[in-house]
């Protein structure tokens, strides 16, 4: 059976893929493709955040999981959302340089966030939520 770590890590990779497509199009000044790809990325990431904030995190904390790190993860989501809003602005202005700088920043924030989740938080979630894993994954899939 798939673990929470496996499912959520695969989801991170899907977001990465969408991120890379959007960045490449924007830096090539290919704005119509960039917009489609960026919107796709934004939707994917928002969905991922909802899975965590509405399902995984509350379930983990109520099962006795660590609340502090969960709070930090939420804060980092907010940081990423701010960067994404700023990126949307550069897209409207067709400002490739601005987009490139912000996407470089977002990449590092996002990747080190993913690293902490994949290596620490998700394994903890698998440990605490072993009995409810099936149900939880089901809820997250319909988000």
């Amino acid at each position: 059976m798939q673990t929470i770590a496996e499912f959520m890590s695969a989801n991170h990779h899907a977001c990465d893929e969408a991120f890379a497509v959007a960045e490449q199009a924007a830096l090539a000044n290919n704005w119509s493709e960039a917009e489609t790809a960026f919107n796709n990325f934004r939707t994917e990431l928002a969905k991922h955040f909802r899975m965590e904030e509405d399902e995984l995190f509350p379930t983990l904390v109520s099962a006795g999981g660590p609340a502090g790190p969960v709070q930090v993860m939420r804060m980092e989501h907010a940081q990423m959302n701010t960067l994404i809003e700023q990126m949307a602005g550069t897209l409207t202005r067709q400002d490739a340089q601005g987009y490139g700088g912000l996407s470089e920043t977002l990449l590092i924030v996002m990747q080190q966030h993913n690293l902490k989740e994949e290596q620490m938080l998700y394994p903890i979630a698998d440990h605490f939520l072993a009995s409810q894993r099936e149900a939880l994954l089901g809820h997250m899939r319909v988000e």
Partner: protein, 428 residues
Amino acid sequence: MKIISLNTEQAPPISVPLRFFTAAPLFLLLAALTLVSGADNPFADIHSPALLAATHCITLGFMAMIMLGAIQQILPVVIGSSMPASRLTSWLTFLPLLSGALLLPAGFLLGKPVLLDLAWPILGLAFITFISAGLISLARAPAHNATKTAILLSILALGGAIALGMLLAHGYATGSLLPYAKLATAHISLSLGGWVLLLIVGVSYQVVPMFQLTPNYPKWLGNGLAPAIFIVLLLILLSLLLEPMPHWVAIVVQGLFWLLAGCFAVATLWLQSKRRRRVADATLSFFRLGMMALLCAALLAFATLFFPENDRLGTVSAVLFLLGFAMSLMYGMLYKIVPFLVWFHLFRGGVKRGVPNMKEVIPETWMWRHLWLHRSTLLAALFAPWWNAAAWLVSLGLLLQGMLLGYALLIAIAVYRRTLVRIEEDLP
């Protein structure tokens, strides 16, 4: 499962890593000046005092300075645990490393035993503080991954390298009778093959996929490479105890080491060729240059095993490892870490508008200029043992690189300070 210590917000103050990073370029200037200090070409004789002094300017003053600063920053992210008492640890490593890295090369260059005898206990203090803090941090880490193993082995190798280095420096200072050649081989193997290579291997497992969205290193490689390198290093140390050492033993153990190092370079280049992020990036170019240099260093080292009488091939292999591999990777890392830290520490204050993004901290044009300057320096270094003019070009290259890197870091600090002042003025 340990969860008590899981704390994902443990970044040390920005002054901690920046202190180390801004001191490092000064040692490139010193290395350059040291190389031109003598009348002869220092690269022609691997035992020349100028080459020994310049090498330690680079390994201690530049490389160790960056590595010690970066590790304090990176540990919380890659293994989920920070160094204990970050400010105190930082000062107790930075100040002695700075003074020791000035005294030791000065002792070599001027032939003053008193300087060497002053240097080794001071450097010992820096590294013992760092090693103890590093081991405590690793023991507390909630993560169990290949990076943690590699960093642990790297720190253990550093411990051995430093003990041998202290013994050698004390021996030179007092004129004691010691098997210098063998101790030096063990010291170099543990410091470059152990500490430097294993640390880069461990950090690469995380940052290569992270910066360019490449696939992860294969699991078997991730789990097996660092322990294999460490075991081969132990075999190299054991082989040094054989008297006389049969030549085939040297070929087998050193050949194995370079085979493993070469595998790491090939694997990294292969992963980077599969990257999903395909935009131009100076860090990526520095990393690729570094991996290609490591591969060439390995090939040349193989050649020296079969032509041991040719000293200069060995010098070129060492130059490729130090300047080509290790230094390129450090530049690549710095050009990502420093802009990120500036953004992170400004943004963390809760201010969202007017915080410069990463590409507004150090202009990319400077990074590309640095890459070209570094490539040219490396090219000159390949010919330096045979051609005096090339040795001068290496010195010039190092001098310019020190100035350029110093300038880039000062720009970053200026951007940080300027933005901070503006943010404070904007507050009601």
